[in-house]
Symmetry: C2
Subunit: 316 residues, 2 copies
């Protein structure tokens, strides 16, 4: 599929860091950065922009904060075609912690919010735009949002100046028909906006859903190398790049980074397709209970986890 | 999705055996059998029906042959709702090696063939039907078959008495749009036939493509526990059962078999999503070169495998 408007965002460090509190060594981050540059990926989301009043620097590595001195250690002045992105969570960042674009190596700020936080997200996004950044809003957990509330959020976003809005399958719970329905709804209610898609791989559908979103018009596509990310992880970047035939993208540098950096990382942190994540995805539940189970002594007792989850659903 | 005509076939032993020459111990096979019975799966494909003149019994375990004495050791008289299936490859089975249905525990014979073998497949399938078996024909590697040859094969199959014809994504190379196109073509050219789907997971699309085939009318669906199968493996049965809301299917027995039998089996044989399989899938190539690479000393040098494959494609 060749559509020049398509852009790919690598989320390896940002989403992968959810599994190790962003405690990556510089060699790993540099390897991912170089692979992004060499493969022609459009953006690398290198971490979160957060306030140090919200998170401890002792417990969290540098990519929870994306200070420019840390960025410069990896990318120098970033004299490449790769743009850098950082994510900001509503309520975890103060406006004054965001430097003007001309003082920062970050090119794009992505504001993540739940539907009820849409007003705050628009305000923060407009603030970032006024400081000179490219901006997106990533509306999370829409698989739990009833129609009326979603329409209100999308109508508000349509009125905003924010040019890019993401469909996010936060719980990895959605099938192709839901992706089609949401992508078309976003396009319909927000004419002129670019639509993005960020999937999770609980049911091994992150890549398939990304393709589905492309078919229905999404142009900003998230992936991570070997799918690294919270819980079951994300759309594997390598599947997406193998699919897109746009000549600017190269698969080989990503394969190289996977063999040199991601495969060794699998010995340290355990993301990917596991039964507890599948169960949460199929039940449209946040993966936190699965992540807790996977860190406990009964991690391989999938039937017991299933029982605990079905008991919860019946009681609720 | 509740469509009563849907039937699920577990291929754990048959397709998984391609990775270990069907050298499963009885405890493993019994565990899979019991999980199939308890989960409400419709068929268990327990192996191949092959002639001992075609394959050595020393090199291949019992499920390459599916002798009734071996079957009885696992299933007794199989007084359950689960039906047993065996696959037969054209040219690897003599007619006289197929007992009459009344002397066999096998309920269904599935004939696998390439498009140019369709005439032989129909003859063998009719022979099996005349002996009393349910029968399918699984038309392999259609991602390499040009339109004219595919149409001829489907027209011949339409004229046959064989009631069930499979779309098979042998190389794990197909995307949702190709699944849609093929499923609709099969239905269009073979009115009245039941359509099946068998996927491979090279690009993590086996489950997504199975859902796509269901949407467009496929009713016979293959999966295997934890996706065990040749190379990247199959559609994970657990994802399919979690998706189908038909009340006859239960997920828990499959989870139990996965934790007790499949997770330990992963220590012995290495199937699943690996970069060489992704590369072959994306290139629409047979996984044999990837399997050879994965068995060699450079197995983790994905970039080198990519180079070897792209060199081949340019030279051909």
């Amino acid at each position: 599929m060749f559509r020049e408007s398509i852009k790919v965002i690598d989320c390896t460090i940002r989403d992968g860091g959810l599994m190790n509190n962003w405690q990556f060594d510089d060699n790993f981050v540099k390897g991912v950065y170089q692979a992004c540059v060499d493969s022609g990926v459009d953006y690398m989301e290198i971490g979160y922009k957060s306030s140090k009043s919200a998170y401890s620097r002792d417990e969290n590595g540098p990519w929870k904060f994306c200070d420019d001195k840390d960025l410069a250690r990896i990318v120098g002045e970033n004299n490449t075609n790769l743009k850098l992105s950082a994510m900001a969570d509503i309520g975890r960042i103060e406006y004054e912690d965001i430097p003007p674009k001309e003082d920062s190596l970050i090119d794009m700020m992505r504001v993540a919010c739940y539907a009820h936080q849409t007003d705050s997200a628009i305000a923060l996004a407009h603030h970032c735009m006024d400081k000179g950044y490219e901006v997106t809003i990533n509306l999370m957990a829409v698989s739990k949002v009833i129609e009326r509330d979603l329409v209100e959020a999308l109508n508000d976003l349509a009125q905003s100046r924010v040019p890019i809005i993401y469909v996010v399958d936060s719980f990895g719970s959605m099938y192709c028909e839901q992706i089609e329905s949401l992508t078309l709804k976003y396009r319909d209610l927000m004419p002129g906006k670019t639509i993005g898609f960020h999937g999770h791989n609980n049911m091994q559908l992150a890549f398939a859903n990304t393709v589905e979103s492309i078919i229905h018009g999404a142009d900003m596509l998230d992936g991570s190398m070997l799918g690294i990310g919270r819980g079951a992880g994300n759309c594997p970047l390598e599947t997406l790049i193998a699919f897109l035939k746009n000549p600017k993208y190269k698969l080989r540098p990503i394969l190289k980074a996977i063999q040199e950096h991601l495969i060794p990382m699998q010995q340290k942190i355990d993301w990917g397709y596991h039964m507890p994540y599948l169960i949460c995805g199929a039940m449209n539940e946040h993966p936190r209970s699965a992540m807790k189970w996977m860190a406990g002594p009964e991690k391989d007792d999938f039937a017991a986890f299933y029982d605990s989850m079905t008991d919860t659903q019946i009681l609720e």
